[in-house]
Amino acid sequence: MDHNEDKNYIDEVNKEGDEEEEEEEDTLVTYLKENFTLQDFLNFEETRFILEQQRRQKFDKDCSPLLEEFYISEVDYWNNSLCPLFINESNHVNLGCFIETIYSSIKPEYDLTIFYDDPILAKNMVETYETRVKEGEAKLRQDRINEIMKQENIMKKYDWKNKKYK
């Protein structure tokens, strides 16, 4: 094999490797799309954190600057007039409070694209899914038993004479 043949061979192997990797990633994406809902991502702390962080970043990028501009212009306008509106606000110290109030009142919308672009981010969620479902079912069963135990007195008759359940 001469130098050129070597290079061609390496390129071919790399190409095959890339194709395999892409195929594997596509399978993972399809698996995620077909088997997990948004709620599954939100139920797992790690993936929920990513979704919440992404939602916040989007809000800070798209909406916060407009809300900041609006708040500052309103406060400045009324502070420069002789009106008592916003008279107790100085240096816009409550801007953060204003933004947080609005952020907490918007309908949460999440975008799962980040997991489809990089399925490895959902690896832990997928791997622990079965265990978590089983744990959840066991907890639900236990809660029901506890509830029944608590209501045990309801099944008994109350003895008004002795002031206790029979």
Binding site: F70, P84, N94, G96, S105
Partner: protein, 85 residues
């Protein structure tokens, strides 16, 4: 309220009106006409809220709890304002 409003180190006049009186009173007693209607604090709060709704709509967001947002906005404005000059 989830996010407490801070008032800087200045003397804040005590409120002399009830919340309802403040809502119905003009923003500025000297210049209270806005077209044919009186520019009251209540009207200002409503306009302020509408402006915020427009900004959110423009950014593609929907308000989850309209009543809660209105209450919190009015709390911010009322706390940061005096009821007299």
């Amino acid at each position: 309220m989830e996010f407490p409003i801070r008032i800087s180190n200045r003397i804040v006049k005590p409120k002399t009106k009830t919340y309802r009186q403040w809502w119905n009173s003009p923003i500025d007693p000297e210049d209270s006409l806005c077209g044919n209607c009186i520019a009251t604090n209540g009207r200002f709060v409503k306009d302020f809220h509408n402006d915020i709704s427009s900004i959110l709509k423009k950014c593609g967001y929907q308000i989850d709890n309209e009543k809660k947002l209105k209450n919190e906005i009015v709390t911010i404005i009322y706390t940061l304002s005096n009821d007299s000059v």
